[in-house]
Amino acid sequence: MAEWTHKDLLDVQNLKREEIELVLETAKSFREVSARDVKKVPALRGKTVVMLFSENSTRTRTSFELAAKRLSADTINISANSSSIAKGETVLDTARNLEAMNIDAIVIRHPSSGVPDVLARHLKASIINAGDGCRAHPTQALLDLFTIKEKLGRIAGLNVGIVGDILHSRVARSNIWALTRLGARVTVSGPATLMPIGIERLGAYVSYDMDEIVRESDILMLLRLQMERQEDKFLPSIREYAKQFGVNRERLKQAKKDILIMHPGPTNRGVELSAEVADGEYSVILDQVTNGVAVRMAVLYLLLGAKK
């Protein structure tokens, strides 16, 4: 088993295969903690974890907060409205002030790519990227891997289709890195206007044939289509999007019998997937949420607890 040597978790891009597997193994043991009657272990007692969220998030913030609390760490929440840029203070300055209060880790979500990297360079505290701009969302990718492995027993050799607004998706980018590193074959799809230049360089294939993707995929990851994209003129209409890329029961008839439907949430029912698919037998969307806590416990533990 690999040793964990990183101070921070910024992206899966800089994790080796064995390191990813170490996170998944560690998460497996923590999954059981959340199923107990008393959902707490003392692993991070005395540690302080700050949630610095400069962007709206219910799911990820709650998931991280539960993860930290179940490891007995103290947590503090700082949200966008109460902090930083509006007052003319840079994020770095905010973080330096937090560090002066002897915190151990900062879980950061920020609308601008690269902010976690800059903090990591300047601070001694561990920085955990909870989503930066369009660039990375490493714990989402890790929990997706965990869920796939749990359901299908393997990742290598699987065909994964990621469908939606790839251009603005940090989930897509992190998942391409993570899945390909573990040997899956990733095909991305979505409107050509939302397909970034050179995405193939990350290791993904590009296809606009949605029915073929549905037929060949072992896993379909559907991304949330932001309604603003239509206002930005990226799309003719949401209706047209649903028609070309939306997944409903009818379309799924041609899919493999054990296909997994995944979604990082929150879902736009009736756009990227129909309600019956979201709630149907192939959907593992709620398992992703459950596993998110265990994976984030593993990450916090490896960064803060395991080293001493």
Partner: protein, 429 residues
């Protein structure tokens, strides 16, 4: 009061003196050039050094008035003198904008008080740089402007640009276009390409630059007017300009040291000092810019010196301002990246950094070392190896991606208007 420069290896754009000369400077003019002179109240011996006509930077931001926390005419003048620049053209995106005679006169007055470099304000093409109404160009010319630009913005309205070209031609002013179609640009923060996809940052597609280059070439052709393209960053732009020149269209162009030394790889660490507009492009573009400087497609090297405070550059990559300082690193980068590898000769360096800018802007007595010319000279030690250090900058701002880089070739003395305005401390030489 006279100055005698002894043992000068004089480098002009069209000729390098085979033997060292002595240069006598009197009353701000080059009085005499001869193999051996022995007059002069002050004598400096420059044996082993190259003496070039004072360098001219057609594109700097001095930030005054309005953002004196970033730079002032005084600190910018000191940086210019240290960088070997005896003339700088300062861009009009100040607060208020340089769009009327009063501001031009105020800047000229302050620059003369400081007296370290020749500052020529560039007036705006449109009032307030709003892209709606032409400035009073005749009045700006009378006040001392030689060129106009809405730098930082393109004149997006094509009809207005046409009118600007017609009017500026009549008045006798050069137009400098910041080529970036605003809607295509969409406030991209780096080059659009593989690396913007990798980093999840909003890209500026190069076509934002090239469609304006192409448009202005067409306007200049149709109107038989001149146009100068600011800070060219792309292979495709170079190809368009090369074609336009081959057709005899009156287009000139400039490039910045960062566009012939750095690529968008420099952004990968989210270093906001590498955030600049137009953005750092690809290796293919870097090679094309170098080739274009060599073959004359690009006429001159400018710095686009753009000072920003540390606080601003500590913002996240999306919000940090565009730009980097350049006055104090341009000579070192040009020698290290272009002259030493043999892309430019020393004479070509003088052409790009002094003679061509003087010709394009219309400075008759500058850009050449000859008897009767203005006594602006830049003395260069071609062998000096030095390291770019944050603490050594004279500029008020320190936002340079070149900090830590080792360069060969340095300015040792700058003479402006017959006076030594910068000399490297003797201990360091």
């Amino acid at each position: 009061m006279s100055l005698l420069i002894k043992n000068a290896v004089i480098v002009n754009a069209d000729q390098i003196y085979q033997r060292p000369q002595d240069i006598l400077v009197e009353e701000g003019m080059i009085a005499k050039i001869a193999p051996s002179l022995s007059v002069g109240t002050t004598v400096i011996d420059v044996k082993g050094k190259l003496v070039m006509p004072g360098l001219i930077d057609m594109h700097v931001h001095l930030r005054e008035p309005g953002r004196e926390d970033k730079e002032t005419i005084e600190t910018g003048s000191r940086a210019a003198a240290k960088g070997g620049f005896t003339t700088v053209l300062c861009m009009p995106n100040t607060t208020p904008v340089i769009d009327n005679a009063m501001i031009v006169e105020a800047i000229l007055k302050e620059a003369r008080r400081i007296g370290l470099t020749n500052v020529i304000p560039v007036g705006a093409i449109t009032k307030g740089q709003n892209g709606e109404q032409l400035t009073d160009m005749f009045e700006l010319r009378q006040a001392g402007c030689l060129a106009l630009s809405d730098d930082g913005k393109t004149v997006a309205n094509s009809r207005l640009m046409r009118l600007a070209m017609e009017y500026a031609k009549m008045v006798g002013l050069l137009l400098i276009e910041h080529c970036q179609e605003p809607v295509l640009w969409g406030r991209g923060v780096m080059n659009e390409g593989d690396n913007s996809t990798l980093l999840g940052l909003k890209g500026d597609p190069g076509i934002s630059e090239t469609v304006i280059v192409a448009r202005d070439i067409e306007l200049a052709n149709y109107l038989n007017s001149r146009i100068h393209m600011a800070h060219m960053s792309l292979k495709r732009s170079v190809e368009l300009i090369r074609f336009a020149k081959s057709q005899g269209i009156q287009v000139t162009a400039e490039a910045c040291p960062h566009h012939f030394t750095l690529t968008d790889e420099a952004v990968k660490t989210f270093d906001t000092n590498a955030k600049v507009n137009p953005p750092l492009r690809t290796q293919t573009d870097v090679e094309a810019i170098k080739q274009a400087l060599k073959d004359g497609t690009i006429d001159c090297i400018v710095t686009d010196h753009a000072p920003h405070t540390q606080e601003e550059k500590e913002l996240d990559f999306d919000h940090a301002p565009y730009g980097m300082i350049g006055l104090e690193t341009a000579v070192g980068l040009t020698i290290t990246e272009l002259v030493i590898p043999g892309i430019l000769s020393w004479a070509q360096m003088v052409e790009k950094m002094s003679t061509a800018p003087a010709r394009i802007v219309g400075l008759a007595n500058k850009g050449v070392i000859r008897e009767g010319a203005d006594a602006d000279m830049t003395i260069i030690d071609p062998e000096k190896v030095w390291k770019v250090r944050k603490e050594d900058f004279f500029s008020k701002s320190k936002n340079s991606p070149f900090i830590g880089r080792t360069l060969k070739g340095a300015v040792v003395t700058t003479i402006y208007n017959g006076r030594v305005v910068y000399a490297i401390s003797p201990g360091v030489v």
